[in-house]
Symmetry: C2
Subunit: 364 residues, 2 copies
C-alpha cells in the first residue's frame, strides 16, 4: 500500500490527535511530506511483519519544543545529512524509515524522508502516541540501544552522541537541541527488521490515517466526536475510550522551560454545573483530574478536540475561552507493562499518582 | 629532548603561572602525567620545526570548569577513547599530541597522553596562555577548522560535533561539557605538521618548564618573584613584564555560572597607602585596573603569585586576606594581531576597554 498525497491530511490529523497535545502540530511537516511526495512519488507503507529480519531500519524525526517547531520550516539538506550521518556511523545503508512517535509532527516527517530517498516507511512507531523525551520509547523498553544518536540543524551542523543508556542519551540530545534553538533533525535507535517486529507498536500509521478519516466522515454524518470514538472502539489498542469532559478553558499556564512546553489547563463545564477538570502537560498531556479524582493518566492518552469539529488541539494552540472535549484513550498493551511504566509511567514525569488503566478509572 | 618525570613539577608550576588564574590547577593532571611516564616512559618533546609537514597532530585536553576539574581525577580509558574516536572520525592515526593551551591543566594532560600512547608531544600550543573558550586559539585565528570536536566522559560516553565554525563548536562543546558535569576529555582541531608550524605558538612547553625552574631557583637564591621576572625577560614572548601590584585580597566574588568560573578580586596595598587594584576574571584574569586606569588587559597575561614563594595562585584558590603579587606579562606577537584580538581580545569578553600592550600601559 502506498501513502499518497491524499493520505497526508488524514495522517496529520490523526497523529495530531495521538499527539495528546504534544508532538508538535503536524501542519508544517505535512506540507513538507506533500511536497516530497509530489517531487519523488508516494512511499510504500509496509507492516513490520513484511520486513526482512536483517533489514536496516532508521528513525527519522525532529527534536525540540512544539512552540518552536510550529514556526520553523525544514529544507531537505539537513534531513539528508541526518540519515547520511547515521549510515556513516553504523556502516549500514537505510532500507526502511520508521517513526519514533506517531503523535504529532514526527508521524509525517518520516514519510517525507521515505519519499525523498525512495525508501518504504514502516507502519509502526516506538510510542503509539507522543512523549516529550527520546528514552520514552518501546524500542528502549524492549532492548534496542539508543546510540548512536545523530542530531542535525539547518546550518548543516551535526552532533553524534554515543551514550551508555537511553536516559543519558536524552540528556545529551536535549542539551544539543537547546543549543540548536529547539528545532533539529534526529535519528537514533538504528535497528533491524527483527528488532522492529519485537519492540515497535505495530500498525500505528494506518491507525492514525483511520482516525483522520473518521473525523472527516463524522463531520459529514453529524457528530465527528461520536464518529471518532466509534472508530477508536474498532481498533486493537485504542478501543477503551471516553469523553472525559466537555467544557471551556478558564485558566492556562504554559511556559517553554528546560527544552519543554510545560504547564496546566483548567476547564469549566458548559452545562452551568460549575464542574471543573485540570489537565497537566509536559509537551504532552499527562493527567486529567476532576473533583472526583484522576480520570486518565499517562501512558494512556489524554486528547483535546474542538467540541464541534473534533479537530485535535495541541497545547501550544490552547486559548482562554476555547470550547473543547477532553477524550481519554487506552494505550497499546506494550505501553502498559511494568517495564514500560518504569520508563514512561506517571512517576517518570514526577507524578505521585500510580498508573491505572482508563477502563478502570472510567468503568468502561 | 625527553620530558622526564622531574620536568613535570616545573612544567606544572610554569603552566599554572601561564594559566593567568585559570586553565585548572595542574596538580591532578601532573600526578596523572607522572604516573603515565612511570608506566610507559618519558615522551619526546619535539619543536614544530622538526615535525614533518604531513604528520597528523591531535589535540588532547580537558574541557570544563576549573572548580570542578580540581576535584575530578581521570582514568586512562576515557583518554584513549577521545583519541581513538578522533582517529576513527578523521581516518588518520595520531603521529603527535599537542596542547590546546599551555596554561593550567591542559599543559600536562597532553604529556600524559603522549606517554600513554608512545607518541611525541609538540613543543607548542594554541594560546601561549589559557583561555576559557575553545574557539580562542591561534589554530582558529589562522585557519585550522575546529571540527570534528570529540568530547568524552568517564562513563566512556562520547559526543562528536561537526560545527560550521569555532564559535558554534564552542557552543555545542560547552553544552555537552555542562551535561557531563563540567569535566570531560576533549580533542579538536585535528591538524597537520604544516598547520602546526603556521598557526601554533611555538616553544611554550619549554618556556613553561623554564618558568617553573626559575621560581624554584629564586627560592634558593633569595627573591623568587625577581628570579621569575628575570627569566621572563630572556624569553621571546613573555619579555615585557612587571609587578602590577603587591597587596592582600580584601574582596572576592566568584561564581560557577554558564559553565565558567566568573567574578572579580579586589586587592589593597600592604604599604598602608590604601591603594587598590581590581582584577576581573572568566576562568582566566581579564583586566587589572587601579585608581589610575588599566594596567594590563587580555590577551596579555595577568598572573597572581604568592608574594613570598612566587607560587602561582589560580582563581579557585583565591582567599580573603591572601597576600599576593599581581604580575603583568606580554602575550606572544601572534596573539596580538587584529585577527587574534577579534577572537580573544577585550571585546570578546564583553569588556569595553580596547587592547593596549602592557609595555605601553606600564611604560616598559
Amino acid at each position: 500500500m502506498k501513502l499518497t498525497l491524499e493520505d497526508m491530511t488524514d495522517l496529520a490529523r490523526g497523529s495530531a490527535f495521538l499527539g495528546t497535545g504534544g508532538g508538535g502540530d503536524p501542519y508544517a511537516g505535512r506540507l513538507f511530506a506533500e511536497n516530497m511526495i509530489r517531487l519523488h512519488g508516494a512511499p510504500e507503507l509496509v507492516h513490520p511483519r513484511d520486513i526482512p529480519d536483517d533489514a536496516n531500519v532508521f528513525i527519522f524525526g525532529m527534536i525540540g519544543a512544539p512552540t518552536v517547531l510550529i514556526e520553523k520550516l525544514m529544507n531537505g539538506a539537513e534531513c539528508d545529512l541526518a540519515i547520511d550521518t547515521m549510515e556513516k556511523m553504523t556502516g549500514r545503508k537505510a532500507d526502511y524509515i520508521i517513526s519514533a512517535e506517531i503523535g504529532g509532527l514526527n508521524s509525517v516527517i518520516p514519510v517525507a524522508m521515505a519519499a525523498r530517498r525512495g525508501l518504504p516507511v514502516v507502519d509502526a512507531d516506538g510510542m503509539g502516541r507522543a512523549f516529550p523525551e527520546i528514552q520514552m520509547t518501546t524500542f528502549n523498553v524492549y532492548g534496542v540501544p539508543i546510540s548512536p544518536i545523530v542530531i542535525v540543524n539547518d546550518h548543516l551542523e551535526s552532533v553524534v552522541i554515543n551514550a551508555n543508556n537511553a536516559k543519558s542519551g536524552e540528556g545529551f540530545a536535549r542539551a544539543v537541541a537547546i543549543q540548536m534553538g529547539l528545532a533539529a533533525m534526529l535519528s537514533a535507535y538504528p535497528m533491524t527488521g527483527k528488532q522492529v517486529k519485537e519492540t515497535a507498536v505495530h500498525g500505528t500509521l494506518g491507525l492514525a490515517c483511520g482516525i483522520g478519516k473518521a473525523i472527516v466522515r463524522g463531520r459529514h454524518e453529524g457528530d465527528p466526536v461520536d464518529a471518532l470514538l466509534a472508530y477508536l472502539r474498532t481498533t486493537d489498542y485504542y478501543n477503551k475510550c471516553a469523553v472525559l469532559f466537555d467544557g471551556k478553558v478558564v485558566d492556562l499556564l504554559r511556559e517553554t522551560t528546560g527544552g519543554f512546553s510545560v504547564g496546566r489547563c483548567l476547564f469549566e463545564a458548559l452545562d452551568g454545573s460549575g464542574r471543573r477538570m485540570e489537565v497537566k502537560f509536559q509537551n504532552e498531556h499527562l493527567i486529567a483530574r476532576d473533583e472526583n479524582g484522576v480520570k486518565t493518566i499517562v501512558p494512556d492518552l489524554i486528547c483535546m478536540v474542538d467540541r464541534e469539529t473534533a479537530e485535535p488541539i495541541t497545547t501550544e494552540a490552547l486559548k482562554y475561552g476555547q470550547r473543547l472535549k477532553v477524550i481519554g484513550v487506552s494505550a497499546a498493551p506494550a505501553m502498559r507493562t511494568p517495564e514500560a511504566l518504569a520508563c514512561f509511567g506517571p512517576h517518570a514525569f514526577g507524578l505521585s499518582e500510580p498508573f491505572q488503566p482508563i477502563e478502570e478509572l472510567m468503568s468502561l
